[in-house]
C-alpha cells in the first residue's frame, strides 16, 4: 500500500515536471515566433559566415576590370558555392540576396569573357 502511494506521488511529480518543462518550451517558442527578428540584421553565426563571404565576394565589383582571369574565375567559383547557402535562407533574404548574387556573378563572368575575347 505504502509502495503504491509512493509510486503514485513520484509519477505525479514526474508528470508535473514534464508538463512544466513542456509549458516553458511552448512559451519560449511562442515568444520567439511572436517577435520576429529583423531579417536584414544578422541572426546567427552560421548566417554571419555566409554574409561575410557574400560581402567579401560581391564587395569587389567596382574593381572587376582590374582582376586577372584567374582571380575572376576564383570569384565566380566563390559565388557558385555561396548560392546553395543563400537558397537555404528565409524567403525574404533569399529573394534579395539571390538577385544580388546573380548580378555580382554575372558581372565577373562578363568581365572574364571580355578579357578572354581580348586575348584572342
Amino acid at each position: 500500500m505504502f509502495f503504491t502511494t509512493k509510486f503514485k506521488t513520484k509519477f505525479k511529480l514526474t508528470i508535473i515536471t514534464v508538463l512544466l518543462f513542456l509549458g516553458l518550451a511552448v512559451f519560449c517558442g511562442v515568444r520567439a515566433m511572436g517577435a520576429p527578428q529583423s531579417s536584414a540584421a544578422p541572426a546567427s553565426p552560421a548566417q554571419e559566415t555566409w554574409r561575410k563571404e557574400f560581402d567579401d565576394v560581391c564587395g569587389k565589383t567596382q574593381d572587376a576590370m582590374s582582376f586577372s582571369p584567374e582571380e575572376l574565375t576564383d570569384l565566380i567559383r566563390r559565388c557558385d558555392s555561396l548560392r546553395p547557402q543563400i537558397e537555404k535562407l528565409d524567403e525574404s533574404r533569399k529573394k534579395v540576396y539571390l538577385g544580388r548574387l546573380r548580378m555580382c556573378r554575372g558581372l565577373y563572368a562578363y568581365v572574364l569573357d571580355e578579357k578572354n575575347k581580348e586575348k584572342k
Binding site: P36, S38, S39, A40, A41, F54, D55, C58, G59, K60, T61, Q62, D63, A64, M65, S66, D90, S92, R93, K95, V96, Y97, G99, R100, M103, C104, G106, L107, A109, Y110, V111, E114
Partner: protein, 279 residues
C-alpha cells in the same frame, strides 16, 4: 505609220505607271506606319515621368505610387536596384508588406528607425495594417488626392533644369544633390571605382552623329553590375546590337532612358553633335 506606232507606245507607258505609283504609295505608307511604331513616344510631364504603380493585391490599402524623381534626388539607382533588390522589370521584385517589415525592399530604409538628413524615415507597412491609416496613404496613394507629402515643382525648384525637367547629372555634379550609395545592414562598403574610359560609339548610319558615352557619369549612379551583363551583355561598340529600335523597345539604353532617365526624344543627350533642329 511612224506616228501611229508612237501613240501606241505612249498608251503602254501610261498603263505601266499605275502599278509603279501604287507600289510607291504602299511603300510610303509602310514607312510612315513603321516610323510611327519606332519613333519614341512623347514623354509625359517631368512630374509624371518615371512614376511606377505597384499593385500587388486587390485588398488592403490600395496600389503604391512610387515617384522616381523623389528618391533619385537622395539615392543612387545602384543602391535601390542592386543592394536593396528592386528589379528593373515590372512585377519581378516580389515585394510584399512582409518583406518590407522584415527590413527588405522599402523597409530597408523605411523602418521607422533610420535617420536621413536629420529626419527619421517613416516605417513602411506596419504589423497592423489599417485601410484608413494616413501613414499607409503616404505610399498607397493611387487615386487619393492630397496625401502625398512632396510635390515635384516645389521639391525641384532649386535644381538645375535641362531640356526636359531637372538635369540630374548637373544637379549631382554641382552638389545640389548628393545621392547616397550605402544603406546600413545591406550595402557592402566599397572603394571608389576607378574611372572607366568614355566611349565614342560609332553609329551604323553616316547621317547619325556618334554617341558619346560616359562611363564616369553612368557609374556614379549605377555602378557596374546594374548594366553589365543584364542590360549590356556585350562590349561591342557598333550599333548592330543596340540600335535605336531596340532602345525604343526598352532594351539597352532604353532600359532606363525613356522610362526614368532622360527620354529618348532628347537626341543631344546622347548624340551631342546632333543638329539643333533635332528634338
Amino acid at each position: 505609220m511612224p506616228t501611229c506606232s508612237m501613240k501606241k507606245t505612249k498608251r503602254k507607258n501610261k498603263g505601266g505607271l499605275l502599278p509603279l505609283v501604287l507600289a510607291w504609295g504602299v511603300l510610303l505608307l509602310g514607312n510612315i506606319v513603321s516610323a510611327q511604331i519606332y519613333l519614341p513616344k512623347p514623354a509625359p510631364e517631368p512630374s509624371e515621368y518615371g512614376k511606377v504603380i505597384l499593385d500587388n493585391s486587390k485588398t488592403g490599402p490600395g496600389p503604391v505610387v512610387f515617384d522616381h524623381w523623389l528618391h533619385r534626388s537622395m539615392f543612387t539607382c545602384r543602391l535601390c536596384h542592386v543592394d536593396v533588390g528592386f528589379a528593373m522589370q515590372a512585377k519581378a521584385t516580389g515585394i510584399t508588406a512582409r518583406t518590407n517589415r522584415e527590413g527588405f525592399h522599402c523597409g530597408a530604409c523605411h523602418d521607422g528607425k533610420k535617420v536621413f538628413e536629420g529626419k527619421t524615415i517613416f516605417a513602411a507597412c506596419s504589423d497592423t495594417p489599417n485601410t484608413n491609416d494616413q501613414q499607409c496613404d503616404r505610399c498607397h496613394s493611387a487615386g487619393k488626392k492630397g496625401v502625398r507629402k512632396y510635390e515635384y515643382k516645389k521639391f525641384t525648384a532649386k535644381f538645375p533644369k535641362g531640356v526636359y525637367g531637372v538635369n540630374w547629372e548637373a544637379a549631382e555634379k554641382s552638389g545640389v544633390i548628393n545621392p547616397a550609395d550605402f544603406v546600413e545592414g545591406l550595402s557592402v562598403g566599397k572603394t571608389k571605382m576607378q574611372n572607366r574610359q568614355d566611349l565614342s560609339v560609332v553609329t551604323a548610319y553616316s547621317w547619325v552623329h556618334p554617341v558619346t558615352f560616359s562611363h564616369e557619369k553612368h557609374s556614379i549612379w549605377n555602378g557596374c553590375e546594374l548594366c553589365h551583363p543584364e542590360i549590356f551583355p556585350t562590349a561591342q561598340k557598333e550599333t548592330t546590337h543596340f540600335s535605336m529600335f531596340s532602345n525604343i523597345e526598352g532594351r539597352y539604353c532604353g532600359a532606363c532612358h525613356g522610362k526614368v532617365a532622360f527620354p529618348l526624344n532628347n537626341c543631344q543627350g546622347c548624340h551631342p553633335n546632333a543638329p539643333p533642329w533635332a528634338p
